[in-house]
């Protein structure tokens, strides 16, 4: 198991290096001169040239890329924002934690409601409960999150005045509307996934056995069926979480929630290259770690998968012996 984790972690290195090179190259070919954006259109040619030298933009692409990579991966320094001059490594934890809170609140809402909805649909297959849940799920998938955000703002901020429409001054309450608007799609997908994987297991022999030996229906559903239906649901939880980490840009923009998304999107608009690159690297690492975590969760939920890891290790050990 430990060996598997190590292998996966090592595997992340080339991927993150690739992401760095890709994003660096894409930002380099972006139209718009960063020096001009920083200094404004009134700056003289001499000022612009001086700024470009200061930013290192007059050097060849490979030299800049090499310097950036050595700064990031050897000195663990993401550099400073060109616009504000603030260290990026110092800004990211604060921003990332807000995006994390948003993602976690969203996940709790989506799966806290989606799983029970899916179970209800599966246990009442082809009855009205099933139809209602699946119609709700279809609508949830269809509604664009940024539009839902606007509708929720109209209802809860403008008409009712219950929740703040922007900023994070109100503490956790400020995260409710963003999380709600973000969770509709995830909730719908969670419900659909739960329904279909519950339907897959619910006719299995061990469910009949459990019922036959007199286990209460409630326990059959939660302990025997749900536990076995959990794998695809966990996969979905993981991919949703990964998407929420990197995809909260639009929601963060609408609610002026200063998380990673808003940080990166402002940087893209201002051609603040180091911030975009740093943000992309951190998001890619977070995403890869989230994916690793899901794979480990599989093993925790399903002993069969855990056994596979163990047997793979044995297989490797044999190979090593054979080679020696």
């Amino acid at each position: 198991m430990g060996r598997y984790i190590l292998k996966r972690l090592l595997w992340m290195i080339p991927i993150i290096l690739g992401v760095t090179i890709l994003v660096f190259a894409m930002m380099t070919v972006c139209p718009g001169d960063p020096a001009e954006i920083i200094l404004g259109s009134t700056a003289t040619q001499a000022d612009l040239a001086a700024k470009r030298t200061q930013l290192g933009l007059d050097q060849p692409f490979l030299v800049r890329l090499g310097k950036y990579m050595s700064d990031v991966f050897l000195r663990f320094d993401l550099g400073k924002s060109w616009i504000t001059g603030v260290s990026i490594s110092a800004s990211i934890p604060e921003r990332m934690s807000r995006t994390m809170i948003l993602a976690i609140v969203t996940l709790v809402i989506a799966f806290g409601l989606g799983i029970p909805l899916g179970i209800t649909a599966a246990t009442h297959q082809n009855k009205w409960q099933d139809s209602v849940s699946m119609v709700l799920a279809l609508i949830g998938v269809a509604i664009p999150n940024f539009w839902l955000a606007l509708l929720l703002i109209i209802l809860f901020s403008v008409k009712l005045g219950w929740l703040p429409a922007m900023g994070i001054e109100a503490g956790l309450a400020s995260y409710i509307l963003p999380a709600l608007s973000n969770s509709a799609g995830a909730l719908a997908n969670a419900a659909r996934q739960t329904r279909s994987s519950m339907l897959d297991v619910i006719r299995a022999d061990y469910i009949t056995t459990a019922r036959a030996k007199g286990v209460p229906e409630r326990e059959v559903i939660t302990k025997h069926a749900l536990k076995n239906a959990m794998i695809p649901i966990i996969t979905q939880m993981g991919t949703t979480f990964g998407r929420l980490l990197g995809g909260a840009m639009v929601i963060e923009t609408i609610f002026s929630l200063p998380g990673m998304g808003l940080y990166v999107i402002n940087a893209v608009n201002n051609r603040d290259y180091p911030v975009v690159q740093g943000g992309a690297i951190v998001l890619a690492i977070a995403f890869s770690l989230a994916m690793l975590l899901i794979d480990l969760l599989y093993a925790a939920v399903d002993p069969r998968i855990k056994a596979q890891y163990a047997s793979a290790k044995k297989g490797n050990a044999k190979k090593v012996k054979a080679n020696a």
């Binding site: 991927i15 890709l22 509604i143 539009w147 606007l150 998407r243 639009v250 998304g261 999107i265 608009n269």
Partner: protein, 287 residues
């Protein structure tokens, strides 16, 4: 002599299966109606797309004259939703066609040849997929600049890896079959084996994915336009319309309700159709 008959019946079977699914048919009808309304927009509205109604500045809310009301510029929202559909639906379909074509080629090559070729392609896709999709689209749109065609390109690049992976997995499953060995033994060229023999047997999940993908892409295009990176106002793309009306949300909520509703209905219809297609193509449900 049996062969062509059998081929025809497969398509007919899928269509028959699809026709049984009421929800899928509903989706198809909504979609066709929308395409007719948008393509023939001038026939269904008496206003021009850039025709200002100065009287509407007093009261832009929906009325008998303007059933969806007017926006902040005095344009009729119903008219602009129809014209906007041309942009939004075209973006969705075009982006998915581009990404499906590229994804199919990449996925077939990786899946058929395997080995080192597969390894290199998959690692490249790993890198692209490690960048969050929205961020990738934003950076590509920034790189290409805003606009209609560039939005299509940005959206298609980010959905290539998913398509390629799906096709690769199917190819690997399918290439071990005897009919492939047979076509290799009669010296078929590799492109012929891949595209004539293998591809038709691996394509059905891609069709489902593409149908759903169009829906997703329409939403993503709208969100890109909404944050100012995609299609720019005053072009009546649905997301751009939402973005332009956002400032008036407090006084005139109708300005943001109708364009969003148009997106939601289109996505719903496409998802219904996609679900139906998946059921119709799913070999597990074949009787």
């Amino acid at each position: 002599m049996l062969k062509p008959v059998k081929k025809k019946s497969e398509f007919a079977r899928v269509m028959k299966q699809l026709a049984k699914n009421k929800l899928a048919i509903l989706g198809l009808i909504i979609l066709l109606a929308e395409i007719i309304l948008c393509a023939g927009a001038p026939l269904f509205t008496k206003y021009g797309v850039a025709e200002m109604d100065y009287m509407s500045f007093m009261d832009p809310t929906p009325s008998a004259e303007h059933i969806f009301g007017c926006d902040s510029m005095g344009f009729d929202i119903y008219t602009r939703v129809l014209y906007g559909g041309r942009y939004s639906i075209t973006i969705g379909i075009a982006a998915i066609i581009i990404s499906a074509c590229i994804g199919i080629v990449i996925g077939s090559v990786a899946g058929y040849f395997g080995g080192q070729v597969d390894n290199v392609i998959m690692r490249l896709l790993d890198v692209i997929q490690a960048i969050p999709g929205m961020l990738l689209m934003i950076v590509i749109s920034a790189m290409l600049g805003p606009g209609f065609v560039n939005t299509i390109l940005a959206l298609s690049v980010s959905s290539i890896p998913g398509m390629a992976r799906m096709l690769r997995a199917n190819m690997m499953k399918e290439r071990g079959n005897e009919y492939i060995e047979a076509s290799q033994s009669i010296n078929c060229s590799k492109p012929r084996i891949i595209f004539i023999h293998l591809l038709p047997n691996c394509i059905s999940p891609i069709i489902v994915q593409a149908t759903m993908g169009v829906a997703q892409t329409i939403t993503l295009a709208a969100s890109l336009s909404f944050i100012g990176l995609g299609v720019q106002p005053p072009t009546p793309e649905w997301g751009a319309m939402l973005s332009a009306s956002r400032a008036y949300i407090r006084q005139y909520p109708h300005m943001v309700i109708f364009p969003g509703l148009a997106i939601a209905v289109t996505v719903l219809a496409l998802n219904l159709l996609g679900d139906g297609l998946r059921d119709a193509l799913d070999p597990k449900l074949k009787n």
